[in-house]
């Protein structure tokens, strides 16, 4: 083990009010892709199990929260740390044409994938302008 300090990609703390316990809240890195049927979000939330994810869509604001299970190997003490552990939280303002009942969420290997299909009635309608 070397004593060199390694420069790693930092996790960004979320710009949210402080926690009472003093633990950090991180902002998960997100990829967002727009497809023909809707929008897909992929959020990196390592250490978060599927049952610990909380997703709400209220007044166009999509909020994603993930509770982390701390990894503390038994009988061992932290000797060197490059990353911190904490819950994840991030919110996005969406357009209002998503059906909250049709949002699909799936967690695999610490990545949460959210699929938001656009509501059928909200598919773009073309309005033709007639010349008078």
């Amino acid at each position: 083990m070397t004593n060199d300090v390694t420069h790693t990609a930092d996790k960004t703390p979320a710009e949210t009010p402080e926690t009472t316990t003093g633990s950090r809240i991180y902002r998960p890195l997100t990829d967002i892709v727009e497809t023909t049927d809707g929008v897909t979000l992929m959020l990196e939330m390592p250490g978060v199990a599927a049952e610990d994810v909380d997703i709400t869509l209220e007044k166009r604001v999509l909020t994603i929260r993930g509770k982390v299970h701390a990894t503390q190997p038994e009988k061992l003490q932290l000797a060197y740390a490059e990353y911190g552990e904490g819950d994840f939280e991030r919110a996005f303002t969406m357009s209002d044409d998503f059906d909250p009942d049709k949002i699909g969420a799936q967690v695999s290997n610490g990545v949460l994938t959210l699929t938001l299909p656009r509501a059928a009635e909200a598919q773009p309608k073309k309005i033709t302008v007639t010349a008078s």
Partner: protein, 142 residues
């Protein structure tokens, strides 16, 4: 910045040296690429553990090898499959091959290395060999 905590106990100048080294690194002209994955190292009497956050990496795509006292962690972060004609709004996550080596305080026996991946967090536990374990020395009455 985080510094190794164990250096503070024995050598009072270790932290200062470490800071100086850090200063050299951050000085202009020597910009370093961030290293992936970030690791946390845990120590105990019975074992040493290394944890790393590897979200989106399939456990089958991770290679862990131990040679004498160096543990190497390598693999690939694959880009998600996106249907054709998709438009990217945001692309914050990184992809590609990665490799990282950690020097252990002892020569690890191959059969004492155990790796487990839960929810994108990798945990490697390396058991200390018998001869490396701390021994209690009895004081004999004179």
């Amino acid at each position: 910045m985080l510094y190794p905590t164990y250096t503070r106990r024995s050598d009072p100048f270790a932290v200062m040296r470490s800071m100086l080294r850090d200063f050299e690194r951050t000085s202009p002209g020597r910009a370093t690429q961030p290293v992936f994955p970030a690791v946390n190292v845990w120590q105990g009497d019975e074992a040493v553990a290394i944890t790393a956050e590897l979200p989106g990496v399939d456990p089958a795509d991770i290679d862990i090898s131990v040679k004498e006292n160096v543990l190497t962690l390598s693999g690939e972060r694959k880009a998600p499959g996106v249907p054709e004609g998709a438009r990217w709004h945001r692309n914050e996550r990184g992809f590609g091959k990665f490799a990282r080596s950690v020097r252990l305080p002892f020569v690890a026996a191959e059969d004492k290395v155990e790796a487990r991946m839960t929810n994108g967090v990798l945990r490697i536990v390396i058991g200390r060999p018998e001869e490396d374990k701390p021994r209690k020395i009895e004081i004999k009455a004179a």
